[in-house]
């Protein structure tokens, strides 16, 4: 996909996610807008190879949406790629839908349980070990939030990944600076995150998490790196990206947008 096509795809994903929110106000829209370009880069940038006809194809690259409720922009992508019919997007959170307000493994294309934070990286370590043992060249990608870095189990998994030289494992941190009750800098002060991963033995890159082409280039460079180090990509993002009332609200996590706000956001980037 050409660079301008990737940006157009990212805009489409964002707008489709906003449309979903109109029908499903229960989804966490602010934290689902920060990883739009990250997931667009992964799924459309020739990085994550999957098989919509067989969601459990052993050759697939594994994607673990560890910051579960903040990855709802995944749904339009999975529908677009053919994992399930697109009209299902209008039924998020509704009775008998296969799409919950938090992605669950009943949805084709969703690997793991993601409703509680801090679990995905450890599970991904197990997958990465198993793939390497089987001689399977598939890669494992995990999307975590920066708030998720508060969880102790994350650092157990970080140590494990480095010790076991899991260079088929890629952690992408959607570093939007905010969790539910405010700014991370006021809560546990995670910054600087990159040197922490570096010290723990990861190959690390930092990137503008809303520059889809920079994301593709960075992810591709790290994916090709095979020196034993697991990889961490710190993607600097903005929670509620492109929606001013979300971008500026420390408590944006639980905000529900009005139809007028959604209309305005859709007009801002058609």
């Amino acid at each position: 996909m050409l660079s301008n096509e990737l940006q157009a795809k990212a805009n489409w994903v964002r707008n489709r996610t906003l449309e979903m929110h109109r029908l499903a106000p229960g989804i966490r829209i602010a934290s689902s807008l920060s990883p739009v370009e990250i997931l667009t880069a992964l799924y459309y940038g020739n990085l994550l190879h999957q098989n919509p006809a067989d969601a459990r194809d052993p050759a697939r690259d594994r994607f673990v949406a560890s910051k579960g409720h903040g990855t709802l922009c995944l749904y339009p992508i999975l529908a677009d790629l053919g994992f399930f019919p697109a009209d299902e997007l209008d039924r998020v959170g509704k009775q008998n839908s296969i799409l919950g307000v938090i992605p669950e493994p009943i949805t084709p294309g969703v690997e793991t349980t993601n409703g509680s934070l801090g679990h995905g990286l450890g599970v991904a370590c197990g997958m990465a070990i198993a793939l390497r043992r089987a001689g399977n060249p598939a890669k494992v990608f995990v999307l975590c939030g920066d708030g998720e870095m508060n969880v102790g189990a994350i650092w157990e998994a970080v140590m494990f990944a480095a010790k076991h030289r899991l260079d088929n494992l890629h952690v992408i941190v959607d570093d939007n600076g905010r969790s539910m009750l405010g700014y991370q800098k006021d809560i546990l002060g995670l910054d600087p995150l990159a040197p922490k991963f570096e010290t723990f033995g990861f190959a690390v890159a930092e990137v503008d998490g809303h520059d889809v082409n920079a994301l593709v280039a960075t992810l591709r460079r790290l994916k090709l790196l095979a020196d034993g180090r697991p990889k961490a990509i710190i993607a600097r993002t903005i929670k509620g990206h492109t929606v001013p009332e979300l971008e500026t609200d420390p408590l944006a996590h639980i905000r529900v947008l009005s139809h007028q706000s959604i209309d305005a956001a859709l007009r801002s980037r058609p």
Binding site: H119, G122, V123, G126, I129, A130, R133, F160
Partner: protein, 318 residues
């Protein structure tokens, strides 16, 4: 009978797992920095199938989940009470996905009940039966001797569900010689003695106390050893065997009572099958016991002895 059966439960089971792992490279063994004599040869000879995850029980469970999702069979090994640290990982990464896909992860929990007697209440594990029984899709296995522990090595790979396996820390004599089918984990219990007055329904090391009671008054007590405590067992068979021909039933567990353990299983069967048979319960009160003492002293303090059981049963023996 394998010579492994004369070892402590953990070594019997690990030895049997080791034999399987040598033939089957799809079995992995994870330890939270816990050792055992039988683990030494496994670690040395099968390094590709063994991982010491460190003192990191949460990550051990998550890694085991990832391995199982890729089709591997996993055994994990840690101190029983330290699995509580990883309860959410057990719930979310094992029990929950097991509802929709195979998840063969086997949690070997060393130090059931008061096994770690002198180590005190951090190491006593009296909540695990009730906590683990409350999780959907999780089998709870509770062997009373090393024969049964050994049999888990054959059973575990055959049932692609997560399983919590209580292993006693001490060596106990075999209780099941000559009892056909006594390690049938689908049935979930074994009748070790038959009698005509009182049925003793026990699990783990309390099965030995039940046998002591029964053998003092031959023909009076039935002894049923419950080797699996989740709802996957033959519940109507257990109800029949613990009530038919008896005047009362007594449940015995080295665990807290009144919070969902073996006593609750027995009670629920009485309710489900609408039986009015009297039920008395032996177990521990819900306190942390700081007082020093070995296991015999702790059991005596909490009246978990053959004499106390016989005294409670006395009214129905005449």
């Amino acid at each position: 009978m394998s010579s492994l059966a004369n070892l402590p439960m953990r070594d019997a089971l690990i030895g049997a797992i080791y034999e399987r792992m040598r033939r089957d490279p799809t079995i992995m063994f994870l330890s939270a920095d816990m050792g055992a004599p039988a683990l030494d040869s496994l670690r040395a000879e099968l390094p590709g199938q063994f991982i010491n995850v460190g003192i990191a029980e949460q990550n051990m469970i998550s890694v085991a989940a990832g391995l199982a999702m890729e089709g591997l069979t996993v055994f994990t090994y840690a101190i029983a009470s330290f699995y509580f640290r990883a309860l959410e990982q057990i719930r979310i990464n094992l029990a929950l996905p097991a509802q929709i896909r195979p998840m063969n992860v086997n949690l070997m929990a060393l130090g059931a009940g008061l096994s770690y007697d002198v180590s005190g209440p951090t190491h006593h594990c009296l909540e695990d039966i009730s906590i683990m029984r409350s999780l959907p899709n999780l089998a709870v296995l509770s062997p009373a001797d090393s024969d049964t522990a050994l049999a888990i090595a054959d059973f575990a790979p055959s049932l692609a569900k997560p399983k919590y396996i209580r292993l006693d820390g001490k060596v106990h004599r075999s209780v099941r010689q000559g009892v056909v089918g006594s390690t049938d984990f689908h049935k979930g219990y074994a009748v070790l003695r038959r009698g005509d007055r009182v049925a003793l329904v026990a699990t783990g090391m309390m099965t030995h106390v039940a046998i002591e009671v029964a053998d003092r008054s031959p023909g009076r007590f039935g002894v049923i050893d419950v080797i699996r405590l989740d709802r996957g067992i033959d519940q109507s068979g257990l109800f029949e065997d613990m009530t038919r021909g008896y005047r009362a039933v007594i449940s015995l567990e080295e665990a807290y009572i009144d919070c969902g353990g073996l006593d609750a299983l027995v009670s629920s069967l009485r309710g489900r099958f609408d039986s009015g048979i009297p039920h008395r319960r032996f177990g521990l009160p819900q306190i942390f016991d700081f007082s020093p003492g070995d296991r015999a002293a702790l059991l005596a303090r909490h009246r978990l002895t053959a004499s106390e059981v016989a005294a409670v049963a006395a009214p129905w023996l005449g």
